[in-house]
């Protein structure tokens, strides 16, 4: 999977490193912004109220 991705990325090695890094940052931002809050809200119980 990752080796295929490495082959697909254009440019010389130093450019590929930068591209891979940017890709990682984008994926993580998407996770932090949307995926993680959704997981936390729907799959993790966290209750703060009494007698509800």
């Amino acid at each position: 999977m990752y080796s295929a991705l490495w082959r697909v990325l254009p440019g010389p090695r130093w450019l590929k490193v930068i591209e891979a890094f940017v890709l990682g940052v984008v994926i993580l931002s998407v996770c932090v912004e949307w995926v993680f809050p959704w997981v936390a809200e729907n799959f993790i119980q966290s209750e703060t109220t009494v007698g509800q």
Binding site: M1, C31, F36, E41, S46, E47, T48, V50, G51
Partner: protein
């Protein structure tokens, strides 16, 4: 030969997927216990600060509000605070300032303790149990908030010391409470929300009750913190110095 290459590729994909799941889980955990609260907490602080800024009026100077002597000199003290009429569910009607929780700590209080629209909301953080007394009325003004995750508004509740001031700010001014005691109860213990917590007698005081989960990150028990109303500072008198110092109300 071909079969061997195929199985090697399959192995690579499986291992890559597993590594990805592992790394993402690790990031999720970091976000869940630490980064997420920093981000959401800062958002909630900013939202509450801009709300109280919208209430701000120009006053000559902030009244000296000495931490040691409190309001015992009677400066800006009002024995009968205005009663905030209950607002519709989901309405922001006050903010909460707790100097012990940090200089920038200010969170919006919304009516109701609905999980999705209030407690988990990225601009709110604190909810008022609609079944409990109105702010300013005799009885128990009870609030709920997360202790961890979603901004963790009550994340430092265990840091409160007896006598710490807690300010509830509305358009009219500041309701000053002082922290009295804490206790730990099971989630079913709804009597902590009674007008006089745990008892069924007529209230003669104004109590602020904060509820959150305990132990942190679990749902088995609840951490309860009680504070007693001390005084009301009308907005026209200027912010109490502890509030002004916090940098929320210049």
């Amino acid at each position: 030969m071909n079969r061997q290459r195929k199985s090697a590729r399959l192995r690579e994909i499986v291992s890559d997927v597993l590594v990805t799941i592992g790394v993402l889980s690790l990031f999720f955990y970091l976000w869940y216990v630490w980064l997420g609260d920093l981000v959401a907490g800062a958002q909630q602080d900013a939202a509450a600060a801009s709300l109280s800024e919208s209430w701000d009026v120009t006053v000559p100077r902030a009244i000296e509000f000495n931490r040691e002597i409190g309001s015992s000199k009677g400066v800006g003290r009002s024995p009968n605070p205005p009663v905030v009429q209950p607002s519709p569910k989901g309405t922001s009607f006050a903010t909460m300032i707790v100097p012990r929780f940090g200089k920038l700590f200010e969170r919006t209080i919304k009516e109701s303790v609905d999980v999705k629209t209030v407690l988990n909301d990225s601009t709110t953080g604190v909810g008022h149990y609609s079944s409990t007394s109105a702010l300013g009325a005799l009885g128990n003004f009870a609030l709920a908030a997360h202790r961890g995750t979603f901004g963790a508004s009550f994340g430092q509740i265990d840091q409160l010391r007896v006598g710490d001031r807690i300010y509830i700010e509305t358009q009219d001014g500041w309701y000053v409470y002082r922290f009295r005691n804490m206790e730990f109860v099971y989630a079913s213990e709804s009597t902590v929300l009674s007008d006089v917590p745990k008892l069924s007698i007529v209230a003669k005081e104004r109590i602020l009750t904060m509820t959150t989960c305990h132990p942190k990150g679990t749902i088995s028990e609840r951490f309860i913190a009680y504070s007693i109303f001390e005084s009301f500072v009308p907005r026209g008198r200027g912010a109490p110095s502890e509030v002004a110092d916090a940098g929320q109300n210049p």
